[in-house]
């Protein structure tokens, strides 16, 4: 066998063949997931599902930066809150606005803030990057605490859900759910597309070895800034949606605690995988809900902290990452 000449065309054919099989598998998995998501609100409480979807979008956004570019932002709560407050303020005070206009405006504000964060924090690397983003987010937090329009400690209540395009009544939970679902899937596919694109490959190269990417002639900072801005925009979109779903925006969303939570979601689910943050968000939101119902309701923080420690020590690849490893080892 060793000495037999191998036709390169055959190898190419085999690779293409394998790729096709994998693509088909992926398509099937995604199809099943889509059906489950479509049917879910008939089995479970739609508002709870929407909460999961909003946090999943938040984590997917965060993962684009952390998992695929290798930049640990400790300030993503700022974008979630900016999206939420902006949308909430506009929808509450300008009744002429349709819901999607409020959401677009919230996303735009978060995008601008993301650009400002990126331009500043990109000047430092590694651990400093995390500290700079944390400090900037704290600045945003103080701004929201002292501003009148946010309602300070009380938060912003009674944000009207309104009508989508002035046509679809979002007060109805099912309508709201499918709207959130469409936005979520669109964003998920967008991130999938980004990660798979040549641009995404450059991000991965930066993550693996930044000096090498520089020496290959890439203007690394520009790629990093763009990744940061996209991530901030999607995080802001998640915040905007969340404020419409719950008709509420509060300081909780801006607190550093929230920045920590999205890191946990991504890490537990599996950073650097597409599905990981979704699984992680589902996991964390459910754990928090279950704990809040039981005798351990005061122990949510220590338990989340313990999950953090355990994940870092024992399974750094996260749930999805470990499953992928297992499949590769035993079935691949």
């Amino acid at each position: 066998m060793m000495n037999q000449p191998v036709n390169p065309a055959d190898i190419h054919k085999a690779i293409v063949e394998q790729q096709k099989i994998q693509d088909r598998k992926k398509l099937m998995v995604n199809g099943v997931l889509l059906l489950l998501l479509l049917a879910a609100p008939f089995v479970m409480y739609p508002v709870f599902l929407m909460k999961i979807l909003c946090f999943a979008l938040f984590a997917v956004a965060f993962n684009l930066l952390f998992g695929f570019t290798g930049l640990l932002s400790f300030g993503h709560a700022a974008f979630l809150a900016t999206g939420g407050y902006t949308t909430g303020y506009l929808l509450s005070n300008f009744s002429g606005l349709t819901t999607e206009m409020g959401i677009i405006a919230g996303t735009a504000m978060a995008t601008l803030l993301g650009l400002a964060f990126a331009l500043l924090s990109i000047r430092r690397q590694g651990i400093y990057f995390a500290m700079v983003t944390l400090a900037l987010a704290q600045l945003v937090f103080f701004f929201f605490v002292q501003s009148e329009f946010t309602g300070g400690e009380d938060g912003m209540h009674g944000i009207p859900r309104g009508e989508l395009f002035g046509l679809i009544n979002l007060e109805d939970n099912l309508n709201m759910y499918y709207f959130v679902l469409v936005v979520f899937i669109t964003c998920y596919l967008l991130v999938q597309r980004i990660v798979g694109s040549p641009y995404g490959q450059i991000l991965k190269a930066i993550k693996q070895n930044e000096p090498r990417a520089v020496s290959l002639g890439y203007n690394v900072d520009r790629y990093k800034i763009l990744a940061f801005v996209i991530s901030a925009a999607l995080a802001g979109l998640a915040g905007s949606m969340k404020s419409v779903v719950f008709q509420l925006a509060s300081l909780n969303d801006a607190h550093w605690h929230m920045s920590g939570e999205v890191i946990l979601m991504t890490l537990v689910g599996g950073m650097g995988t597409l599905l990981g943050p979704v699984v992680g968000a589902t996991f964390v939101v459910n754990i928090e809900y279950l704990l809040s119902q039981g005798p351990l309701r005061d122990w949510v923080d220590p338990i989340l902290g313990g999950t953090f420690v355990l994940t870092v020590l024992a399974f750094r690849s996260g749930i999805v990452g470990e499953i992928q490893k297992f499949i590769k080892k035993n079935l691949g």
Binding site: R123, V132, A135, G305, G306, F308
Partner: protein, 295 residues
């Protein structure tokens, strides 16, 4: 009454003293962070929790065993430092070879656990610790009234900062530490027990934080969350100063405290944000930080 820019001199100098005290705390905490960062290359997110533990242990020792302030000043940092050693040995050491981001997340998780458990035990309303009798009262300097305890905090914090600088820059042990910062593998090759040095360094950094906690106990409200708020400010201070030099960490800490105090006098609404704004300006003008060496 003499006035400075429309503010009574007594008020201004009072705020300045408070600023220097806050600055002393920033200096102690960022010093500990810098010492740990130097050798372990990690940012200790549990640093705020250790500061809080220092204060809390002081109160608990007093309530249960009526241990007085002077004893607590030594015992509390030792106890908390020993706790730090446990964290280093059982948690941080296990992921020593991994990306530094993981150790950052690990200490963040540890801080959440410590803070959460203690919140359940002691609540968030805050404990009080009465000041030792000898520190009650103060001295009239003519232009202002200086409480004894504040003077004490400034003096002792500066002494500890200077002592740490001296140990690291001028002693044999310090030379090991600096060598380890440069290249710990090479040092291991010279027969120095690097893992032990790492443990001791982490323990020492934690002790500095706990010591600051004891100093804070009589003047601040002691709550399980007192550490996390100050830690974020200290992070900004560290970004401003850079962690390259010990002296730089001390100077930046005190300077930021003073700037905060001045802002409180002249424009109070911005006082909680001013250090972060300074950080933004420094990042724009001098991205490596005032005393930074690294990129």
């Amino acid at each position: 009454m003499s006035m400075v820019f429309g503010v009574p001199l007594a008020v201004l100098s009072g705020q300045l003293v408070i600023g220097i005290i806050n600055g002393a705390f920033y200096a102690l905490l960022s010093l500990g962070l810098a010492v740990i960062f130097g050798l372990l290359k990690i940012i200790n997110f549990a640093h705020g929790a250790m500061y809080m533990l220092g204060a809390l242990v002081t109160v608990v020792l007093f309530d249960l065993l009526s241990v007085n302030y002077w004893v607590a000043l030594f015992v509390a940092p030792v106890l908390v430092g020993a706790f730090g050693l446990l964290i280093e040995y059982f948690l941080l050491r296990r992921i020593a070879g991994q990306d530094h981001i993981y150790s950052l997340l690990l200490t963040f998780g540890a801080a959440l656990i410590i803070q959460g458990v203690l919140t359940n035990i002691y609540g968030v309303s805050g404990l009080r610790y009465s000041m030792p009798d000898m520190f009650k009262g103060g001295i009239n300097l003519g232009f202002m009234f200086l409480p004894y305890y504040r003077a004490w905090v400034i003096v002792v914090a500066l002494l500890v900062c200077f002592g740490t600088w001296f140990i690291i820059e001028k002693t044999k042990l310090g030379s090991y530490l600096r060598a380890g910062t440069e290249d710990s593998q090479l040092m291991q090759g010279f027969g120095i027990n690097v893992p032990l040095l790492v443990s001791l360094t982490y323990g020492f950094g934690v002790m500095l934080a706990a010591f600051a906690g004891v100093l804070a106990a009589p003047i601040y409200s002691i709550t399980p969350v007192m550490g996390s708020n100050i830690l974020i400010v200290v992070f900004a201070v560290v970004v401003i100063g850079g962690m390259g030099s010990i002296g730089g960490a001390i100077i930046t800490g005190i300077l930021m405290g003073v700037i905060e105090g001045l802002t409180k006098t002249f424009y109070p609404p911005a006082s909680s944000a001013v250090i972060f704004l300074v950080m933004v300006v420094v990042l724009m003008i001098r991205p490596t930080g005032l005393f930074g060496k690294e990129a």
